[in-house]
């Protein structure tokens, strides 16, 4: 693989296609405006620049203006949502993603009522429309576009369309669980390390660095292969929770590190000092003062991590360290299909197309979300 799945890691550089939202958390008082205006006027978005999260108003707001509807008083997330609604591409691909999710959720219905065959039912001697699903040399049949074997068969005579939907379910579930793990623990680790520093940081940071310093695919495949042999505790080796868990843990630092940096910066800010001086409990400061200001970073990471997790699952499954037989995922289907690239290219390319479409939809939606939260990333300037 080229660079490992996670493209956004190095140097805190960017998400899939750009950089992380450089949050504006300083209360951008109107007095800050001038520097903006003088630098480059095409960048002078008065106030609109001060997007994402803003601390409680320590600085005076301009007096309500007499005329016209105004953006004053509209929350940053509301503004972001308004911007996202204007981004038709992001909305379209968001809809595509939802459609894919729905179709995959309905896999059992398709399997039961349309294809009349289960996802793991092998049928090497079966026929469809008078043709056998496997040729004498074992080459599976291509797409028939009929209820049976709509997308053809796999190497064991199983219905590819049924497996595609079930596989999609598996891929999405693994991606989803991994993302939840990443978001919950990444945020937690970042908050703790960044806020308490000292001993907590001294323990958490090297742990994150350690995981982070391995290419995710190599780490994932090594751990995945080992765990697939005997499982962990009550979880069997072929459970889909194993790859989900591995992927989640591998990517915790990818969120934890930026959050930690963010928190380190936020904790030095005046409004946090103010809370501290008021005698607020550290946990309360973390949850009610710091976390809300890191939320837009976290939101930006959700689609990014989901897309990346689904991709890593495909890599692991391709290398035999992810989803184990007889379960299918898009990764295992591509892996199985590549053997027949010459004779039945659809076997690998159809699951591949599904995988790419899904990940692409999430990424485009994610980019839209990022731009909505950080509109300056979009402003176009001429040199």
């Amino acid at each position: 693989m080229a660079l490992g799945v996670p493209r956004f890691r190095r140097n805190g550089q960017g998400s899939s296609t750009g950089d992380l939202p450089t949050q504006t958390t300083q209360g951008s008082s109107t007095e800050d405006l001038p520097t903006q205006t003088t630098q480059d006027p095409s960048f002078a978005l008065p106030e609109a620049g001060g997007v994402a999260a803003r601390p409680e108003p320590l600085v005076g707001r301009p007096p309500a203006e007499p005329e016209g509807p105004s953006t004053v008083g509209v929350g940053p997330y509301r503004l972001a949502f308004r911007r996202l609604r204007r981004n038709k591409t992001a909305l379209f691909f968001g809809a595509v993603f939802i459609a894919i999710v729905i179709v995959c959720v309905l896999a059992p219905v398709y399997s039961h009522d349309v294809a009349h065959i289960g996802p793991n039912v092998t049928n090497p001697t079966g026929t469809v429309n008078g043709k056998s699903v496997l040729s004498t040399s074992g080459v599976p049949i291509g797409p028939t576009f009929t209820a049976h074997y709509f997308f053809g068969a796999d190497s064991d005579g199983r219905d590819l369309a049924v497996r595609l939907l079930y596989g999609g379910r598996t891929s999405l579930i693994i991606g989803g669980i991994a993302t939840i793990i990443i978001i919950v623990f990444g945020t937690l680790v970042g908050l703790l390390a960044g806020y308490f520093r000292g001993v907590v940081d001294a323990v958490l940071r090297p742990l994150m660095e350690l995981i982070w310093s391995f290419p995710p695919v190599i780490l994932g495949v090594a751990v995945g292969t080992a765990l697939a042999l005997g499982g962990i505790g009550p979880i069997k080796g072929n459970s889909i929770f194993i790859p989900a868990f591995i992927i989640g843990v591998i990517y915790i630092p990818y969120l934890g590190k930026p959050i930690r940096g963010e928190v380190l910066r936020l904790r030095e800010m005046d409004f946090v000092d103010a809370a501290r001086v008021q005698g607020m409990h550290p946990w309360r400061i973390m949850l009610s003062e710091i976390l809300p200001n890191a939320t837009s970073t976290i939101i930006v990471f959700i689609p990014m991590m989901l897309a990346t997790s689904i991709l890593l699952e495909a890599y692991l499954s391709f290398l035999g360290a992810g989803v184990q037989a007889p379960n299918a995922s898009w990764g295992t289907l591509i892996s199985d299909g590549i053997t027949y690239l010459d004779t039945t290219p659809s076997f690998a390319l159809i699951p591949g197309a599904m995988l790419v479409l899904t990940v692409l939809s999430i990424n485009i939606l994610g980019d839209g979300v990022r731009d909505a939260l950080d509109p300056r990333a979009q402003v176009k300037i001429q040199t």
Binding site: M1, A2, L3, G4, R7, R10, N11, Q13, G14, S16, T17, G18, D19, Q39, D40, F43, L210, S213, F214, P215, I218, V221, A222, V223, T225, A226, L227, L229, G230, G231, I232, G237, A307, L311, A314, Y315, F318, L319, G320, A321, G331, I334, S335, I338, L341, D342, P345, A348, L349, G352, L355, V356, V359, L360, N363, I364, A377, K380, I381, T383
Partner: protein, 316 residues
């Protein structure tokens, strides 16, 4: 400079140590891992397993096993469990193939990314920019094995322009070498071009708003000169950092998927096989190999940084 080298060497040693302990440790803590059984085969009798365990020292405490293994690695005598091949010589003989794959691919993606990123920034919002945006986002959404598969299907099977898989060494036949490697090169490069050019583009657009760029314009420099001398130069650093690390991990075997797919006998392919077999010695050597390159290129990039930016001083 001397201090820099010393400190970097020390940190390299520390990283190699940490990596080796961790990789070794991972396999120690995994409950289902039983190397003796793995070597003896699934159907081996308990007696055979016991003999194997004794022979490889799997009964010894962790630190003894670790020290033994390290000794074997640094004396070049370590063998893998699967085929009893000497791991170090295996890495040596496979490394040229990995270099053949990675260096041209990296050059393709870096040069293409600088050109495309610049074009995209200069034409921000116009067609070229949007096309690149699409390419970048598709690039991060396709796993490399799928892109490789699509290229293979289209160019090797359908159009038969390129051979399907395999490898010819550069020394035996340079033309064939390139011919066989073009598809793998582009499989690796294409996906990175989009991402790198996108990062460069956003750095460029940030840089365009810097005060000193405005000064350069105010001095009456031509647009090209402002761009080349002031904007581009300052924007290259973030991508160079990314590049150093990506390149290092690729050399260390991170190209394993591509090497497996295209059947290129590089270190990555060896590592992939070893990982599949839970064959600790090659995995361990591979991890240390990667760590070595990561440190080496980290230091090199820092030197380049210091050359490009006088504010940067070389420190450990």
């Amino acid at each position: 400079m001397g201090r820099f080298i010393v400190r970097r060497t020390l940190s390299a040693a520390a990283l190699l140590f940490a990596t080796s302990v961790v990789v070794f440790g991972i396999f120690e803590v995994i409950p289902s891992y039983n190397p003796g059984r793995a070597i003896a085969g699934r159907n081996a009798t308990p007696q055979t397993v016991a003999i194997v365990n004794k022979k490889f020292g799997f009964n010894q405490p962790f630190y003894r096993q670790y020290l033994n293994t390290m000794k074997l690695i640094f004396t070049g005598q370590i063998v893998d469990y699967q085929d009893q091949l000497n791991v170090v010589s295996e890495f040596k003989s496979r490394f040229p193939a990995t270099l053949s794959l990675v260096i041209p691919a990296a050059l393709i993606w870096l040069i293409a990314a600088i050109i495309l990123g610049s074009v995209s920034a200069l034409r921000a919002g116009r067609f070229a920019d949007k096309a690149l945006m699409v390419m970048a986002i598709v690039g991060v959404s396709i796993p490399v094995f799928l892109l490789g598969a699509v290229l293979l299907y289209l160019l090797a099977y359908k159009l038969t322009i390129f051979p399907n898989t395999g490898y010819v060494s550069l020394t035996s036949n340079p033309a064939q070498w390139a011919y066989y490697l073009i598809l793998p090169w582009f499989s690796i490069a294409l996906l990175s071009i989009g991402f790198y050019s996108r990062v460069l583009r956003s750095n460029l657009l940030d840089m365009v708003n810097e005060d000193f760029v405005r000064t350069a314009k105010a001095k009456g420099l031509s647009q090209q000169r402002v761009f080349r001398r002031h904007v581009l130069r300052n924007s290259l650093m973030p991508i160079l950092t990314m590049f150093g690390l990506d390149f290092a991990t690729l050399l260390g075997g991170a190209a394993l998927v591509t090497e497996t797919l295209f059947n290129i006998p590089g270190v990555g392919q060896y590592e992939a096989t070893a990982i599949g077999n839970l064959d600790v010695p090659p995995i361990l050597v591979g991890a240390m190999f990667t760590a070595f390159f990561v440190v080496l290129f980290g230091a090199l990039i820092d030197v380049v940084y210091a050359l490009l930016d006088p504010r940067v001083r070389l420190t450990g």
